[in-house]
C-alpha cells in the first residue's frame, strides 16, 4: 500500500520529476508506464531530484534517464551496473537507480548482474523486459521464447529463454519483484518498496514493445497475482515462481527485510597524505 503523504509534506509532484525532453518511444510502448511508475514512486518517497541518480545502458528503455529530473548516466551497452555500483560507493548519499532493457541486462550485461546482487550495494535495479531488442529493430533477446521468428532468427529462435529472476534469486538477492506496465499502480508500489530496501533490489518490469513484439494480449492471459499467503522469505517458493514459463506471476517474489552488509563509503580514517608521509624523508 502506498503510504498517504500529508498534503503539506508534498514538495515534489510528478511534474517535478519530468524534464523537457519528450520520450522518443513509439506510442503505446510499455516504457511510458514504467517511467510514470518511477515518477510515482519518487513522489511517494519525496526524493529531491538533485540527490537522485539514474544509470542506464543502451536500448530504447535506456533512454529513460533523460526523461527524469535527476543526474543521469546513459552509459554504454550492458555496463550500467558497474557504473551504478561505483557511483553508489563513491556517493552513498545519493539515491541510485540502474535501469535498462532485457538485452542490456540479460544479454551483453548479464555478467555484471550476479555480482551486483552479491555485493548488495543499495541500488534499485529496474529491467524493462519486452523479450526483444527494440532499439535495433526487433532481434531475439535472451528472454524471447523458443521458436520465436525475428530478423535475426528467421527459422525460429533455437535457444530457450532464460529465467532472469531465478538467476537473481540464486545469486542471493534480498528483494526480487515483478510488475507489468499495464498494472502501473502495482509497478510503482514494487519500485517504491525496492527503493526503500537498504540493499540491492531487483524489479522485473514487463514492458511490451508494440512495434516489434506486441505481447500485451499474451501477457494479459499469462499474468496472475502472487497470493498474499506466499511467504516472501521463502526462497524455494520464490524460485518456483521465478521458474514459471507458462504463466507470469506478479508481485513480490522474495524480500528479506534487512540487507546483509550496510553500504558505506571508503573508510574515513584513511588519510592519503599520512600514508604517503611514510615515504617521505
Amino acid at each position: 500500500m502506498t503510504p498517504t503523504i500529508p498534503l503539506e509534506k508534498v514538495t515534489y509532484k510528478a511534474a517535478d520529476y519530468k524534464t523537457d525532453l519528450k520520450p522518443i518511444w513509439c506510442p503505446g510502448c510499455g516504457d511510458f508506464a514504467v517511467l510514470a511508475a518511477i515518477q510515482q514512486a519518487l513522489v511517494a518517497l519525496q526524493i529531491d531530484p538533485k540527490d537522485l541518480a539514474i544509470v542506464s545502458g543502451i536500448g530504447c528503455s535506456s533512454r529513460l534517464p533523460g526523461f527524469v529530473q535527476a543526474y543521469g548516466l546513459h552509459t554504454v551497452h550492458g555496463r550500467s551496473l558497474p557504473a551504478a555500483t561505483g557511483l553508489k560507493l563513491a556517493r552513498p548519499d545519493l539515491t541510485v537507480m540502474a535501469i535498462g532493457g532485457d538485452g542490456d541486462y540479460f544479454s551483453i550485461g548479464i555478467g555484471h548482474l550476479p555480482h551486483a546482487v552479491r555485493r548488495d550495494v543499495n541500488i534499485t535495479c529496474i529491467v524493462m523486459d519486452n523479450e526483444i531488442y527494440g532499439l535495433t529493430k526487433g532481434q531475439t533477446s535472451p528472454t524471447s521464447p523458443q521458436g520465436h521468428v525475428t530478423k535475426s532468427t528467421p527459422s525460429g529462435n533455437q535457444a530457450q529463454p532464460l529465467h532472469p529472476l531465478a538467476i537473481i534469486l540464486a545469486s542471493g538477492a534480498s528483494f526480487v519483484a515483478r510488475g507489468f506496465s499495464s498494472q502501473p499502480k502495482q509497478l510503482a508500489e514494487m519500485i517504491r518498496l525496492g527503493m526503500q530496501h537498504p540493499g540491492f533490489s531487483f524489479i522485473h518490469a514487463m514492458s511490451p514493445c508494440v512495434t516489434f513484439y506486441d505481447t500485451y494480449k499474451l501477457y494479459k492471459e499469462k499474468i496472475y497475482q502472487i497470493p498474499d499467503s506466499h511467504d516472501v522469505r521463502d526462497r524455494d517458493a520464490a524460485m518456483r515462481y521465478a521458474l514459471e514459463s507458462e504463466r507470469m506471476p506478479l508481485g513480490i517474489l522474495y524480500h528479506e527485510p534487512s540487507a546483509r552488509v550496510p553500504t558505506s563509503a571508503a573508510p574515513s580514517n584513511f588519510n592519503t597524505l599520512d600514508y604517503l608521509a611514510h615515504y617521505q624523508a
Binding site: D20, K50, D51, P65, G66, H74, T75, V76, L276
Partner: protein, 301 residues
C-alpha cells in the same frame, strides 16, 4: 575498454587508466615487456575520441605522472591513460623522497553560485572549451551524461551543427598542452649529430647510450617525451631542429611512436625497433648511432 573510454571522451568525465604493457597481440608474451599499446592508447575508441596519454620511465616518474594524470584528468575533464610496461610495474628502485608540497591538487571546474532552473549548460561553449561540471547534489544542475552527441545542455542532438560544434570543443580544449614544454626531458648536448626521441622505459637505455657516447666524444642527445598525446609539438620540433638525425628507439614491431611523430609533424625520423619482448640495452642503441654516423664498431677481443 575502448567503448568506455569513448564514453568518457564524449561525456567529458575525468578518469585515469593505467596500462602496464606486455607483449602482444592477444595474450602474447604476458610475462615480457613491450611498448606496443601506444596506438590503442592514442587512437583506440570509436570515432574521434580524444584523451591524454602519459608514459613514465621510472618508479619516481610513476608517482609524478600519476599525480599529474589525475590533475590533468580533472583540469581537462578527460580520460588519461598512463602507459607503463611490465618491466616498470615489477621494478624496485631507490628514489629521492617525494616532496608533496610540489604537487598541487587540481579539481575540475564547477558551476559557481546559485543556478536558476534550466539555466545550467553542462557543455557550455566558452573560451577554454572546458565547461563547469556539476556534481550530483547540486540544485538545478541535473543533466544526463550521454554517449550520444549532444547540445550545450547535454541533451541528445544529431544535427551537423551540434556534431561540428562539440567535436571542435572536445579537441580544442587540449590546445595548450600541444604547446607545453612540461612533459619532455632533455639530456645531453644542446646541439647534437644524433638525437634520440624516446618514451617510457626506453629512456633508461637511451640515457646510458648518451653517457657512453659522451665518453667517445660523439654528440648524442635525447628527448624523453612523457606526454605522448596530445603530442607536445613545439618541444619535439625544437628538439628535431637541434640535431642532424632523429632516431626513435622503441620496443614494438611497427615503430608506433616514430609513425605517430611522422604523421603528426610531417617530419622524417629513423626508427629503431626491438620486438623480442626484451628491452634495449644502451649498447644496442649506441651501435645504431655508430652505424648512422659511419663509425666502425670497436673490435671485441
Amino acid at each position: 575498454m575502448g567503448e568506455a573510454l569513448g564514453y568518457a571522451s564524449m561525456t567529458e568525465i575525468p578518469v585515469v587508466v593505467v596500462d602496464a604493457q606486455r607483449g602482444g597481440p592477444s595474450t602474447g608474451l604476458p610475462t615480457k615487456m613491450e611498448q606496443s599499446d601506444l596506438n590503442i592508447a592514442v587512437h583506440g575508441g570509436h570515432g574521434d575520441s580524444p584523451r591524454i596519454v602519459l608514459a613514465p620511465a621510472s618508479v619516481a616518474e610513476c608517482f609524478h605522472l600519476t599525480v599529474w594524470g589525475f590533475n590533468l584528468a580533472e583540469q581537462y575533464q578527460s580520460p588519461v591513460i598512463i602507459l607503463s610496461d611490465y618491466s616498470l610495474s615489477f621494478r624496485t628502485e631507490t628514489i629521492e623522497p617525494f616532496d608533496l608540497a610540489k604537487y598541487p591538487v587540481i579539481t575540475r571546474a564547477q558551476p559557481q553560485g546559485e543556478l536558476a532552473p534550466k539555466e545550467y549548460k553542462r557543455y557550455k561553449i566558452n573560451g577554454s572549451y572546458i565547461s563547469p561540471m556539476a556534481l550530483p547534489g547540486m540544485p538545478n544542475a541535473q543533466y544526463t551524461a550521454t554517449g550520444l552527441e549532444h547540445n550545450e545542455y547535454g541533451n541528445p542532438a544529431y544535427t551537423p551543427e551540434a556534431h561540428i560544434q562539440m567535436s571542435e570543443k572536445r579537441w580544442h580544449k587540449y590546445d595548450a598542452l600541444r604547446h607545453s614544454h612540461e612533459y619532455v626531458r632533455h639530456f645531453g648536448p644542446e646541439r647534437a649529430r644524433v638525437g634520440l626521441l624516446c618514451w617510457g622505459t626506453t629512456a633508461g637505455p637511451c640515457r646510458g647510450a648518451v653517457h657512453l657516447a659522451a665518453q667517445e666524444e660523439i654528440a648524442l642527445s635525447m628527448l624523453q617525451v612523457q606526454m605522448l598525446w596530445p603530442l607536445p609539438e613545439d618541444a619535439i620540433v625544437a628538439f628535431i631542429d637541434s640535431v642532424d638525425i632523429v632516431l626513435v628507439p622503441e620496443v614494438n614491431y611497427l615503430g608506433q611512436f616514430a609513425k605517430l611523430v611522422q604523421g603528426e609533424l610531417g617530419v622524417r625520423v629513423k626508427s629503431l625497433t626491438a620486438y623480442g619482448g626484451v628491452p634495449f640495452t644502451r649498447f644496442d642503441i649506441l651501435r645504431k648511432v655508430h652505424e648512422l654516423l659511419g663509425i666502425a664498431e670497436p673490435e671485441l677481443v
